[in-house]
């Protein structure tokens, strides 16, 4: 029924006995108390609001059990900034007002933070395609895409992402 697990979240180890059926997103929110990771669609796994990094890869934390992340390392939106300095995507979202209610933002930022790590310029088509797994119901994506383009598009400074990741590491 219960299993003792240990998950590193944003560098901090959380060790606890949890029900096997507990979803990873609930572990993050209720056990670790990190509520920046959101629950949107609640079960279909289509909204992407719960996107986190599992060993540096973007995954939906509502489509995993907490026990499946035992021994692994997770980054949530709270861990995206480096030493108090915002990730270039966070700054660009701010500059472009790439959010309205903000519910989807954490998931989009976590997905895009991995996507832009490829360290190459991305086209608008590639960016829009990469956003398929994140639903925004307010802004209609235009400002979101603009913000991501500023970081990773033709005129972007993808090296800033690289630099940020080095500082975070």
């Amino acid at each position: 029924m219960n299993k003792e697990i240990s998950i590193t979240i944003n560098g901090e180890i959380f060790q606890q006995s949890v029900p096997i059926r507990m979803l990873l997103v609930d572990f993050i929110r209720d056990v670790a108390g990190l509520t920046g990771t959101h629950v949107g669609c609640t079960f279909e796994g289509v909204c992407g609001a719960c996107t986190i990094h599992l060993d540096d890869e973007a995954v939906k934390s509502c489509l995993m059990l907490a026990v499946q992340a035992d021994g692994r390392s997770i980054t949530t939106i709270e861990g995206l900034a480096a030493n108090g300095k915002l990730h270039p995507l966070q700054k660009a979202f701010n500059d472009h007002h790439a959010l309205q209610c903000g519910f989807c933002s954490a998931g989009i930022l976590m997905n895009m933070a991995e996507f832009t790590r490829t360290n190459r310029k991305l086209t608008e088509d590639e960016i829009r395609n990469a956003l398929v797994g994140n639903l925004c119901r307010c802004t209609g994506y235009a400002h979101i895409v603009d913000a991501i383009k500023e970081v990773a598009g033709d005129a972007g400074s993808i090296s800033a992402v690289h630099q940020h990741n080095l500082e975070r590491a």
Partner: protein, 295 residues
């Protein structure tokens, strides 16, 4: 949504351990691969396994091996790794077409080819793709091993030939002839949506540039993924420049496929879509086949 109570959770590190775990836990247990479909079903309580046996740490199930054109894809290989593997280009490129547009980035980071085949959802990309490229599935149980063609393995939606105590360990593809190509395309309501219909084509050209073997597989069907044999026969002897013959074969494939009406498309519209998709993937498969084998 919250899953029903799960009593035990095992994380084996080998296929043998996984089989032992199943034997110990009994018939209410369930293997879980990437979980991108299964977790939805568990959360919706479509299924309520008492025990979960997680295959994510079984290293021998992960990875793609290519040996003189023959390919072995471990069942736990994720979409992202299939989508990125250029060694599949040509004969088995349909796998990359399909894997690169399954779900979304997050799903492709977790979802696996073996999991998709074992779930055999009606609106899935891997089942018709594996039938189209002529894949076989290797299964292992305590009783031994067996190998089944994808089209034998995949039955009606959500049904396969896998017994509960069996693990699909790999998808295998035989060494292709010199001039082979494949392609896959789906049609859904929005970008990268679940396929309402989807088609995979595999073309083998002789030295004269004419098709000597063709396979067409259609997905999104109430019957489960199916080959369009009549359409395949119509392609024999056809060359890449015979646009009208290709078009006719695609129409034949569509006309001979049994389609259903549902909230996404009625039966007639499905046939229309199958015809268009079939023409596109056949044309692409011809072009890829003509390039020949990588040296």
């Amino acid at each position: 949504m919250y899953p029903a109570v799960i009593e035990t959770y095992d994380v084996p590190t080998s296929v043998q351990e996984a089989l032992q775990a199943f034997a110990k836990r009994g018939n209410d247990s369930c293997f879980i691969a990437g979980g991108q479909s299964l977790m939805q079903a568990i959360k919706a309580r479509v299924i309520s396994p008492k025990s979960l046996i997680d295959l994510q740490r079984v290293a021998e199930l992960n990875g793609i091996e290519c040996n003189q054109g023959a390919v072995r894809i471990g069942a736990m290989t994720r979409y992202r790794d299939i989508a990125a593997d250029e060694r599949l280009d040509g004969a088995f490129q349909a796998l990359r077409d399909a894997a690169s547009h399954v779900g979304d980035r997050q799903v492709r980071n977790r979802g696996t080819i073996g999991g998709s085949l074992c779930w055999n959802y009606i609106a899935a990309c891997m089942p018709p793709t594996c039938i189209g490229i002529g894949a076989s599935l290797d299964l292992v149980s305590k009783g031994g091993k067996r190998s089944l063609l994808a089209e034998e393995f995949l039955q009606s939606p959500l049904e396969t030939a896998r017994r509960d105590d069996e693990i699909v360990v790999a998808v295998t593809l035989p060494t292709p002839q010199k001039y082979c190509g494949s392609a896959y395309k789906k049609w859904g309501l929005v970008t990268d949506a679940l396929p309402v219909v989807c088609v995979c084509a595999f073309i083998d050209l002789g030295n004269d540039g004419r098709c000597q073997l063709a396979r067409l597989a259609v997905g999104g069907l109430a019957t489960g993924p199916r080959r369009a044999n009549v359409g395949e026969k119509a392609l024999i002897g056809v060359s890449a420049t015979d646009a009208s013959a290709i078009s006719d074969a695609a129409e034949t494939a569509a006309a001979s496929t049994e389609t259903q009406s549902d909230m996404w498309a009625d039966a007639e519209y499905r046939k229309k879509l199958i015809g268009i998709l079939a023409r596109e993937v056949i044309t692409t498969a011809f072009a890829r086949a003509a390039r020949g084998k990588h040296s």
